[in-house]
């Protein structure tokens, strides 16, 4: 059996239902390519993303976690992403403070019309994570498949 030696990162993308998830849809409709390593989790609003979700993703083997929401000012619920913005800033800063590579976490605002931006963002993020290699600093050894 041939073993594929190339490192395929696991990437979790939390996408808000109203903008970013629709943006991902548009990327698909437009046939824009983005890596299959990106697993999208749809959330009602970026504000729904609890910091525990991000940590959970890392625990379960994610090498990178990205959160996408409506552009500030465009939130379906008016202000959700403003709260999310502060929260994620704080969380990412803390992860960085603990010495966990800051490049593994990211926030991008992607509207429903920005299919191309979605694809470009995911391509770029995946490349970054590929460069970083496996997530070692925030991993749960028990969850690694032997």
């Amino acid at each position: 059996m041939q073993v594929n030696q190339e490192f395929r990162p696991k990437i979790v993308a939390f996408c808000c239902n109203w903008c970013s998830y629709a943006g991902a849809d548009l990327a698909g409709t437009n046939r824009s390519n983005y890596p299959a390593d990106v697993k999208i989790i749809r959330v009602p609003c970026s504000c729904r993303v609890n910091p525990l979700f991000i940590l959970r993703a890392f625990q379960r083997g994610a090498d990178g976690v990205i959160m996408c929401g409506c552009h500030p000012g465009d939130c379906h619920y008016t202000t959700g992403n403003y709260y999310a913005r502060r929260r994620m800033t704080m969380l990412f800063s803390m992860l960085d403070y603990l010495g966990i590579e800051k490049e593994r976490t990211r926030v991008e605002w992607v509207s429903a019309a920005e299919g191309a931006k979605f694809a470009a963002t995911m391509n770029e993020f995946t490349a970054t994570i590929k460069g970083l290699g496996e997530n070692k600093r925030l991993e749960d050894l028990r969850c690694k498949t032997q």
Partner: protein, 342 residues
């Protein structure tokens, strides 16, 4: 009895560590952090601190221990026994109180049904105790009949300014001492002077007269119904510090962890101070912190002695006196409940 000069103690450690894992108390960073047990390494400095912050029970009853693994494949469940034979190890510098705590843990884990995880570790561990040169104000082991000048263990040690005396108490200990070429023979009473000096200090300890008269299996209902528990427990934060630093607290919880590709069953320390300690399918049997607090001290001072020929479940190491965030501890409980109850 054998002896070795303190300057050769390091060589002695190196010789032991050459054949098996050796753990000894070392300073844990800055001074106020006290001492911890660590594997011996070249240049390790033995800490003579009166006690380590965490107790020596960790060696036989670790905080977390994997027990078994399950794998599911369709309707097949595969159970994997991950128990392994432990390797031999030596713990140096165990104090008399901790050495006595092993007997209490043994009475729980080595009586039928035997806890094979504990037994495995216990059988492979060799305990070298050290008499307490400088007991401190929080020490009260003598209250429970423990002699800090005559610690138990496979090998007992005494330390003077320049010499360490070693006395083997078991065959295992005898064999280890025989394997150390740097040891010299010493007279059997060589450590008597040191012991006498220790006993003199022990006699000056502020807690030496703490009375256990009010406690024991026969005092159950009177103590259980005491109205003093409310005020004793009112400040309790319900954290598990006292139980986790305690050398005799031996409760654990068994949990399953879903790894995404199987189940890992592990056990970990549990604390009767936690609200979910007694949480069962039907509900919780201890609903207030007073009840949980009472349980801990009733267990040590009443239930345990009642089941174990009067032996108390405390060894007087004083760790809870130092660690409790609100400074409520077994000494205060014994004094308060003991008042007018002898």
């Amino acid at each position: 009895m054998k002896k070795v000069s303190r300057s050769s103690l390091d060589a002695c450690f190196a010789a032991i560590a050459a054949s098996q894992k050796l753990y000894l108390p070392v300073a844990d960073g800055e001074k106020k952090r006290g001492a911890k047990y660590a594997p011996w390494f070249e240049g390790a400095v033995y800490s003579t601190a009166v006690n380590t912050v965490r107790s020596a029970k960790d060696f036989f009853f670790p905080q977390v221990e994997k027990m078994t693994r399950f794998k599911m494949d369709g309707k097949q469940i595969e159970v994997e026994d991950i128990r392994k034979e432990n390797e031999d190890f030596v713990i140096f510098g165990v104090r008399a109180c901790d050495a006595a705590s092993f007997a209490i843990l043994d009475s729980v884990y080595l009586s039928d049904p035997v806890d094979s995880f504990y037994q495995n570790r216990r059988e492979h561990g060799l305990i070298m105790t050290m008499a307490c040169g400088k007991p401190t104000e929080t020490c009260f082991c003598s209250v429970f009949g423990i002699d800090a000048a005559e610690p138990a263990g496979d090998i007992s040690c005494w330390m003077t300014e320049d010499t360490v005396y070693m006395q083997a108490n078991t065959e295992k200990g005898e064999a280890l001492l025989a394997s150390l070429p740097m040891l010299e023979d010493a007279a059997d009473d060589a450590a008597e002077e040191t012991k006498a000096a220790i006993r003199q200090v022990l006699d000056k300890l502020p807690l030496k007269d703490l009375s256990t008269d009010a406690f024991g299996g026969d005092k159950l209902m009177k103590l259980f119904d005491s109205d003093k528990w409310n005020s004793l427990s009112e400040a309790c934060l319900a954290c598990g510090t006292c139980t986790f630093v305690c050398p005799t607290c031996q409760c654990y919880d068994i949990r399953d962890y879903d790894t995404g590709h199987g189940i890992e069953r592990f056990r970990c320390w549990d604390s009767c101070m936690y609200s979910d300690f007694t949480l069962c399918a039907h509900g919780n049997t201890r609903t207030t912190q007073m009840q949980r607090f009472r349980q801990r001290f009733m267990h040590k001072l009443v239930y345990y002695p009642s089941n174990n020929n009067g032996t108390f479940g405390c060894v007087g190491c004083g760790r809870c006196l130092k660690s409790c965030p609100i400074s409520m501890n077994i000494v205060k409980v014994m004094k308060t409940l003991g008042e007018g109850n002898e």
